[in-house]
Symmetry: C2
Subunit: 388 residues, 2 copies
Amino acid sequence: LKLPLGYRYASTYAGIRKVEKDDLALIVSGSPASAAAVFTTNRVQAGPVRVGKANLAASRGRVSAVLINAGNANCANRTEDRVALESCRLVSEALGVPQAQVIPSSTGVIGVELDVNLIAAALPRLVERLSPDRFEDAAHAIMTTDLTQKVAFSDAFGIRVAGMTKGSGMIQPNMATTLCFVMTDAALSPTVLKGMLKQATARSFNRLSVDGETSTNDTALLLANGAFGKKPGERQAKALQSALNEVMESLAEQIARDGEGAQKLIVIDVLGAATDAAAERIARSIANSLLVKTAVHGSDANWGRILSAAGQSGAVFEPVKVDIDLQGVPVCRSGFGVDFDEPTLKAKLDLKECHIRFRIRGSGKAKTRFWSCDLTKGYIDINASYRT
Amino acid sequence: LKLPLGYRYASTYAGIRKVEKDDLALIVSGSPASAAAVFTTNRVQAGPVRVGKANLAASRGRVSAVLINAGNANCANRTEDRVALESCRLVSEALGVPQAQVIPSSTGVIGVELDVNLIAAALPRLVERLSPDRFEDAAHAIMTTDLTQKVAFSDAFGIRVAGMTKGSGMIQPNMATTLCFVMTDAALSPTVLKGMLKQATARSFNRLSVDGETSTNDTALLLANGAFGKKPGERQAKALQSALNEVMESLAEQIARDGEGAQKLIVIDVLGAATDAAAERIARSIANSLLVKTAVHGSDANWGRILSAAGQSGAVFEPVKVDIDLQGVPVCRSGFGVDFDEPTLKAKLDLKECHIRFRIRGSGKAKTRFWSCDLTKGYIDINASYRT
């Protein structure tokens, strides 16, 4: 078992989503865990995001429990803050932990009131079910339109890291993420944790887009309860950062792979950009281009769209210095098309993963990796009737 | 007939596009016209864009002829500038006008060489066909995936304005436009013309998105040949600006209505923003939101997505001051949902036009109108196999 020590998990169906599928999850740390979080940059923020921020501030970065529901974002309705606060109070009472050490988190439709009575009724059941091995149940309960459950594990010198996340639409976390909860049993202060989460987020969830939409509820929360024992030394801390990066990068990739309607994962590597910001802009623009996403869907080696998407990113680069490879096959050199065997490349593009390599020669050393997915009719099916 | 005096038009099939449908158009002014143009802001610019800019500079804003081809963007290939220059030389020779007074313009696939011999072979036929009444033939020849021809006419004190444009994918003109050619017989200097075009573009093509893609070939060209006679006075100039705005707004709306795969036009009005820039950012973000576009497609009154799209625009506003109307029906007041009759609104959303009104109360007076379209499976059909 790779699960961090000292955590318990549970899930149940509270009746928040229409279909009878678990929609309420609880994560509890045996002792108050150090915590760090990043939240959505959307100007419209859900009640649970506001309450979560306030609680983290009030508890000085200590968290004992996280209550997560799917099926309702608890956003843009008259009772959002009240319901989020009341949920925390209920959990606090049921577990005997300070209210400020409870983080509420919601995902689902925007603009509909969340009935706190459903949570109150489900909570005793939830608490009763708490168990160290129900990690995957919790991961399952936070899913919305996800087809697959998204979890990742790693470790460093015996310290364990386990993460869960959900997709799969309204995904372009910007300085934040969709819902993501990562637990470790390392002993670390909230301040150290914050730096670690920031680094891991920058290279994972902030390099991910399914549909260019930054949600009102994006939250990534990292807990470290110290159950492993002594504080990590310098070497251990470095290895732990790598483990955390690995977990969050895996989760980000899993979200892209299971993007709404997606049939293909798109991995974009940008190399040789003048600055980190330029690399990121180019990668994000390619990742969000509907024309690139549909071309990949159709296994069409339309590299001109990749070049055009980079060109509209706002990043400064010389088009005549650009080399593009698709699935390892050179399709553009120095900004111009090169001959390639169309049927061979088409067959490679039919695979479930599409790799785009965008390299600028002689410009700089900045590089980044970005995850996206193809755009299919499935996305339209899902989103033309999401609410009704 | 509403056509401006002193222009002739022609079109033919030169064999540039695969299907036998006119792909080469020529617009000729009897005397050198004053000209103003705006071009794409994409970092990757096609050969004809570069040559067009250079020619306008060399001729000090005088244009005698415009040669436009569809089926090939003449972009990101080894011969793009040479072919664009040679096309101008051929037209210059055939018409006996200075080469710098010829503007080349291309639309179609990126990254493929354009065979100038096809243009050389078609040019005599094209010149022979030149006629004052072949305006619509030319408008027809510049179409790519357009289903409908896009033309608009207006007049002011007898001065005529006629415009043509093409859609219908890779459309988010940014400080520029897709291909758009507007002719008037007013007598105006290139400098005055530039100001007029800038104003008209700002409120038309720069308020338009089909798929958030700024093309490598975007060009809007305004010609004024003075064939009407005397210079317009102040009142006439003002009326002419209105006529130009009207023509370009109509063309922009036509592009959105015929966006690739589109079944519905989306008209977005943002009111009460703090600044013009904020109004534009909010409108553009709503216009480009895949979740808004798919919800409109499915006639789903999912106003939470509209609020979220505005929230991720980067514009500063208070969510609790936002009112949203869909098809004139209030769905959100002060940032919260209000009751509405679901079947009635659904029936209204089934119409071919969807009107979104996003108003911020007590914040400012800035407003803007933006055009977009729904996202359908047709867009994916078209773009999954555009090149092959």
